[in-house]
């Protein structure tokens, strides 16, 4: 199914939909072409080497005029691995609307961003701070400016509605109202109290992550972000599956939620929201303690579809070697050590907007298809 020797710099046809998944780099990112030169980016990650947003570098390599062609920057949540480089991207994408999870409009989250952390604070918060500054300056320029308003994504919110040149609908399926309340309570808990020690913020569960349904012509794509299941019908994936208002088109492509983890898995998504044997794309989360996907996760995914693609191996990687002395001391001093980042793998899927031709899958920089699962 994968195309041999793909050309990375070849842009899609105007009548083609493209789904590009990048990761892990410093996080993950999805770039979508919705036909007719209309691009959107979902989440942002950095290239480990250049330290620039992967999406920006990719779009430039395709010679896409980012300032006019990138119409939406959608941040599904504020965790470091989904938001790095978003401010740099937004600065370039001068006409793009910025969409964030509705939960992030709460005063509790804004107070987290408003804290003057002596060391700058967690990178996810720093990035949000910078994004808010950009939006504030755009707002000051007034209503004549495109993309000056910050937009909030909640359950069943239309983010894009186009009739021409192709029918396009991008809809956020989450967070549900209850998920938002839960996330706001978590933000309140994270807010330091008077006389509390100055520590970094602990990242909580992804209750308020934005899941997206993308429909272009006859093609549908489901982007699962990092949404997890809570075993409560009002929260997480259960709230989405049970919703009568969500788009009912079954997706052919699924960006698997939360790096394929068991907590991100909802069986009814596969039976109710996806076509049989869909393309399942995911990025790994490299960690010594909680690596994702696990062998068990991969087996589960492989039992659900024959088309599972990973941007990179979930195996952890050795840190760059320092001097022999340093390495020896470190080896004697720690119980384990790894790096999470790697060369950014890239899975690219393209298909005609109309018709039922197979998706063309192209794999770059170490991305691969799961073929043999014991």
């Amino acid at each position: 199914m994968a195309t041999p020797s793909p050309v990375l710099e070849a842009p899609p046809e105007a009548t083609e939909i493209e789904v590009s998944l990048f990761g892990p780099g410093v996080g993950e990112c999805v770039v979508l072409h919705l036909g007719g030169g209309f691009w959107i980016v979902v989440d942002s990650c950095l290239d480990r080497t250049t330290r620039h947003p992967v999406a920006l570098e990719y779009l430039r390599s395709l010679e896409v005029p980012v300032h006019t062609a990138l119409k939406r920057l959608i941040l599904t949540h504020w965790h470091d691995d989904h938001i790095r480089g978003a401010a740099e991207l937004l600065r370039e994408a001068t006409e793009a609307q910025l969409w964030i999870s509705g939960a992030l409009s709460s005063i509790q989250f804004r107070s987290l961003v408003g804290l003057k952390h002596p060391s700058g604070g967690p990178r996810g918060v720093q990035e949000m701070d910078e994004l808010f500054r950009i939006m504030k300056s755009r707002k000051a320029e007034g209503a004549h400016r495109a993309g000056y308003n910050l937009k909030l994504a909640n359950e069943n919110t239309p983010l894009v509605r186009l009739a021409a040149p192709h029918a396009v609908e991008v809809t956020s399926l989450s967070p549900s109202s209850e998920s938002t309340l839960l996330a706001v309570a978590e933000f309140a808990r994270l807010l330091p109290k008077d006389a509390a020690p100055v520590n970094d913020i602990r990242l909580g569960p992804n209750d308020a992550a934005v899941v997206l349904h993308v429909k272009v012509g006859e093609r549908s794509v489901l982007l699962g972000s990092d949404l997890e299941n809570r075993g409560d019908p009002r929260l997480g994936w259960r709230a989405i599956v049970d919703s009568a208002e969500r788009p009912q088109d079954r997706a052919e492509v699924f960006k698997v939620a939360h790096h394929g983890s068991q907590t991100g898995h909802e069986p009814n998504v596969w039976t109710d929201m996806l076509v049989p044997d869909p393309c399942a794309l995911l990025t790994p989360y490299r960690s010594l303690i909680t690596p994702l996907p696990t062998e068990k996760d991969i087996s589960r995914l492989a039992s659900l579809t024959s088309k599972v693609f990973l941007t990179a191996s979930p195996r952890t990687k050795e840190p760059p070697a320092r001097s022999r002395t340093v390495e020896k001391i470190v080896k004697d001093s720690v119980l384990g050590r790894t790096v999470r980042e790697s060369t950014v793998g890239h899975i690219r899927l393209r298909a005609p907007i109309y018709g039922h031709a197979d998706w063309r899958v192209e794999l770059f920089n170490g991305a691969y298809q799961i073929t043999d699962v014991a």
């Binding site: 005063i107 003057k116 060391s119 504030k136 520590n199 970094d200 320092r322």
Partner: protein, 218 residues
């Protein structure tokens, strides 16, 4: 002993206690980067900066002990505190005599590598931190698992999720020149959040709220 003499005696004892504390603190001193600088002067530690990759040496002649004693006592006591003055003078004289005969005490730490780490999880006698290379910022962040037992007693109460610490690797060089490979974890101590900072964050949060108003007039 009359009242004045008793007060002076108390002052003298306090001066000695302060001197002792100052010496102890000097022995446990830390610079701004969280790197141990044993035997250094407390007042100078606060201003010192570690030169990465180079040997940092601090010297303390015994006269510094008297100075440390003076820092702790004389600021608080009055000039008529004759007993304390006498003791300090005696210490100065003794130390100057000794310093002529003894080599200067030296101790140093050859810093080879340092990371700034944030604790992300704790459990089963170990904790995990994300380590950012302070000397080579282009290096990727690492996930490192440490043994909780490696956190010194003074810092153990600071070990919690979100806590920031400095992980330094290098050679400890004793005052006798003995080199030993060493890895040090030192937890950051910052002034706690205060009401003014929290109120400022809330004010900024109110301002940011305007971003979510559709046309700015609503």
């Amino acid at each position: 002993m009359n009242r004045h003499a008793a007060a002076s005696d108390l002052n003298a004892r306090k001066a000695l206690r302060d001197a002792s504390d100052a010496v102890r603190k000097a022995g446990e001193g830390w610079n701004a980067e969280g790197v141990v600088l044993p035997f250094s002067k407390v007042s100078e530690q606060k201003q010192s900066s570690m030169v990465l990759g180079q040997r940092t040496t601090t010297e303390t002649a015994p006269t510094d002990i008297a100075r440390a004693c003076g820092d702790g006592a004389l600021q608080e006591e009055q000039q008529n505190d004759t007993v304390a003055d006498t003791l300090i003078d005696a210490a100065k004289i003794a130390s100057s005599q000794r310093s002529e005969n003894l080599p200067t005490i030296r101790a140093s730490f050859d810093l080879l590598q340092q990371w700034v780490c944030t604790v992300v999880s704790i459990g089963d006698g170990e904790f995990v931190a994300i380590a950012r290379d302070k000397m080579n910022p282009e290096c990727p962040d690492e996930e490192v698992v440490f043994d909780c037992a490696d956190v010194n007693d003074a810092d153990s109460q600071l070990l919690e999720i979100g806590a920031v610490f400095y992980w330094s690797v290098g050679y400890r060089i004793s005052e006798w020149g003995q080199k030993t490979k060493g890895s040090e974890l030192r937890f950051r101590r910052l002034p706690a959040w205060n009401k003014r900072e929290l109120a400022a964050a809330e004010k900024r949060a109110e301002e940011l709220g305007l971003l979510f108003v559709e046309d700015g007039n609503a």
